[in-house]
């Protein structure tokens, strides 16, 4: 059995623990957090060992992998310590607060030849995979424009308080919601190399941005719009979508459906002229255990599979996540210019 530990038991950490633990090839042996109430609950009801210090956990548990799901500013030292000890590491997104830190971690993981993955879970949603495949197959012809969007109700009234409201800790909408969209754009459409007209808008938060608007130029020269707002309560939960316009048609894709419009039929892809709508039910990635969405289990399955097969992940490596951090830096720099 592969021995696993979780560092950080917030919403994502608890969810990771609940997904890692039933995995048939994995034994969840330890968890770590600083909250006594959460640790007490694990002590009382589960059989895992609990720690309030990640160094102690890593030093005593002989782990094969850790999941790091702490606030972003803590990622660097925790991931670094795990890698130094030769432990495969799954890190929550966004990867690092500064690309200097991120580069150091990518280098270290490579040197030590350790499996590394970041939690950009949208790549484990079947519709986004299908979108990537269709673009690769060229169904839209030459691309003209794209829009990457995410909206949801995270901060819908004036408040301060948690780490999510602290810009020094990576708490704003840019690091949180936007990183997902940037990562999707970079992996599905192309690598952004320039940001212009960037605006980081505060709506209800005092210290951090609640919305991010930017024009991104990709290395192919294609330009498109990033539009993200986590203070939009017209959405029940986070809703992420990509719209891509090409000379041959258009595709609108989100986590539940993919809508394809073609000016002429594509016989190779069996897509007719006009609109074709396909649903997640056609592209769902099967999992053995489901919690909150198959993508959360599928990404852990992928990570564990890579550990077993001793091969690097093709999806969501540290290196890819580092690129997202670089685009975040481009947007921050542009918003200040």
């Amino acid at each position: 059995m592969i021995r696993a530990g979780i560092i950080g038991l917030g919403k994502m950490g608890i969810s990771h623990a609940a997904i890692v633990s039933p995995h048939p090839s994995v034994e969840l042996v330890a968890v770590c957090d600083t909250s006594t109430i959460v640790l007490d609950a694990f002590k009382k009801f589960s059989k895992v060992n609990v720690y309030n210090d990640y160094i102690k956990m890593i030093d005593s548990e002989n782990l094969d992998f850790v999941v790091v799901s702490t606030p972003t500013k803590l990622h660097y030292k925790m991931v670094r310590y795990a890698l130094e000890k030769g432990i495969h590491t799954f890190c929550e997104k966004p990867f690092s607060l500064t690309t200097l830190e991120g580069e150091d971690l990518v280098k270290l993981a490579d040197e030590k030849n350790l499996i590394n993955q970041v939690g950009y879970h949208n790549h484990f949603i079947g519709t986004f995979r299908e979108l990537k495949r269709l673009l690769k197959a060229g169904v839209l012809g030459d691309l003209v424009h794209f829009t990457g969007e995410a909206y949801g109700p995270v901060v819908i009234k004036e408040k301060g308080g948690t780490w999510r409201s602290d810009p020094v800790e990576g708490g704003g909408c840019l690091f949180d919601y936007s990183s997902h969209v940037i990562n999707l754009i970079q992996q599905i459409i192309g690598l952004p190399v320039k940001a212009s007209g960037s605006q980081l808008k505060r709506i209800y938060s005092k210290e951090v941005e609640d919305a991010v608007y930017s024009i991104l130029t990709l290395e192919t020269g294609l330009t498109g719009i990033l539009s993200v707002n986590w203070s939009d309560e017209t959405y029940r939960k986070m809703s992420t979508s990509l719209t891509i316009l090409g000379k041959k048609g258009k595709i609108i894709c989100d986590a539940t459906e993919i809508k394809i419009y073609l000016k002429e039929a594509d016989t190779k892809e069996n897509l007719g002229k006009g609109w074709t709508i396909k649903y997640i039910t056609d592209f769902e990635i099967p999992v053995n255990f489901y919690l909150r969405g198959e993508e959360y289990s599928a990404q852990i399955d992928n990570f564990v599979d890579c550990i077993i097969k001793k091969k690097q992940t093709e999806i969501n490596s540290f290196r890819e996540a580092l690129y997202t951090d670089k685009v975040i830096e481009l947007i921050i720099a542009d918003s200040k210019s």
């Binding site: 009801f45 948690t162 255990f289």
Partner: protein, 284 residues
């Protein structure tokens, strides 16, 4: 349990297939009166059980039911708790203790006489009971013969292997509410094995059951095996696989498993409700 259970996803803009449809539903059911109108349509064609989450707006539906006792005298509600978004948002906003303070009625420090918060930290089961009572408050005077825990929580407890929580939940629901505890899950086989292992026999379990294996974790084959061979009281949900199946083929498939006691479905129009109900009666 009735064969046909009417669900509430459509009232709260939950649509697993289309964000656009979910927005349309949010508009249609903006007012509580619209919810009650559709519930009444369901009732008029003989559906007498409403299975719903403990959403704030259900409290208004319950108020209306209490105010019209004659009209709803045979009507039952199967509550499903908790309404997870409410607590997730409160925890993000106020922290765990802040959320507890907000949702437990009365003063938490007087509720726990033995030293307030310090005691609360150790008495998780007592805390769970307080939360259940807080969630059940809106159903006072309404018949609730089966009380469910939502899948997010069931599957989290299952994944974390904190099985004792199921045991405590089960006995508290029976003792305090004289009701049957129910479990909603996306992991039917694993849950049934677990409940049996801690001595919970013949449980009411609501899970996705559909012809294409949508949201049936572990695969359709093992679900079918459990539906044929094991002892439990299954409720089928997501039977249309979020709309990927036509109602007739969907219900016909369920007919292969006589053990399925009930089918949970939601719809926004009388004709859809009627059509699905007829199919259930025909094939099951």
């Amino acid at each position: 349990m009735d064969k046909v259970l009417f669900g509430d996803n459509q009232f709260f803009a939950v649509n697993h297939l289309s964000d656009e449809k979910s927005r349309a539903q949010a508009i249609q059911f903006k007012d509580d009166a619209a919810i009650i109108r559709v519930l009444d349509q369901a009732r008029e064609i003989g559906i007498n059980t409403f299975m719903c989450t403990t959403h704030d707006r259900i409290a208004s539906v319950c108020d209306y039911m209490r105010a019209n006792p004659e009209k709803y005298k045979d009507f039952k509600i199967f509550p499903c708790m908790p309404y997870a978004h409410k607590y997730a948002n409160a925890i993000t906003d106020l922290g765990i203790l802040g959320a507890v303070k907000q949702y437990i009625p009365g003063n938490i420090f007087s509720t726990f006489t033995k030293g307030g918060v310090a005691f609360l930290r150790k008495d998780f089961i007592g805390l769970m009971e307080l939360f259940i009572d807080a969630e059940m408050k809106m159903f006072k005077g309404v018949e609730t013969p089966v009380i469910f825990i939502q899948n997010v929580l069931v599957d989290m407890i299952l994944g974390l292997k904190m099985y004792e929580v199921f045991k405590e939940y089960d006995s508290y629901i029976r003792k305090k509410y004289n009701a049957e505890p129910g479990y909603i899950t996306m992991n039917l086989p694993a849950l049934l094995d677990t409940l049996n292992s801690i001595g919970i026999e013949n449980p009411v379990i609501c899970s996705s059951i559909n012809k294409i294996g949508f949201r049936m974790s572990g695969g359709k084959d093992i679900y079918e095996k459990y539906l044929t061979e094991r002892t439990f009281r299954p409720i089928a949900m997501q039977v249309l696989a979020a709309g990927a199946l036509r109602p007739k083929e969907a219900i016909e498939y369920l007919g292969k498993f006589p053990k399925i006691e009930s089918v949970l479905f939601g719809a926004s129009s009388k004709s859809h409700i009627e059509e699905t109900k007829k199919l259930i009666e025909q094939y099951m």
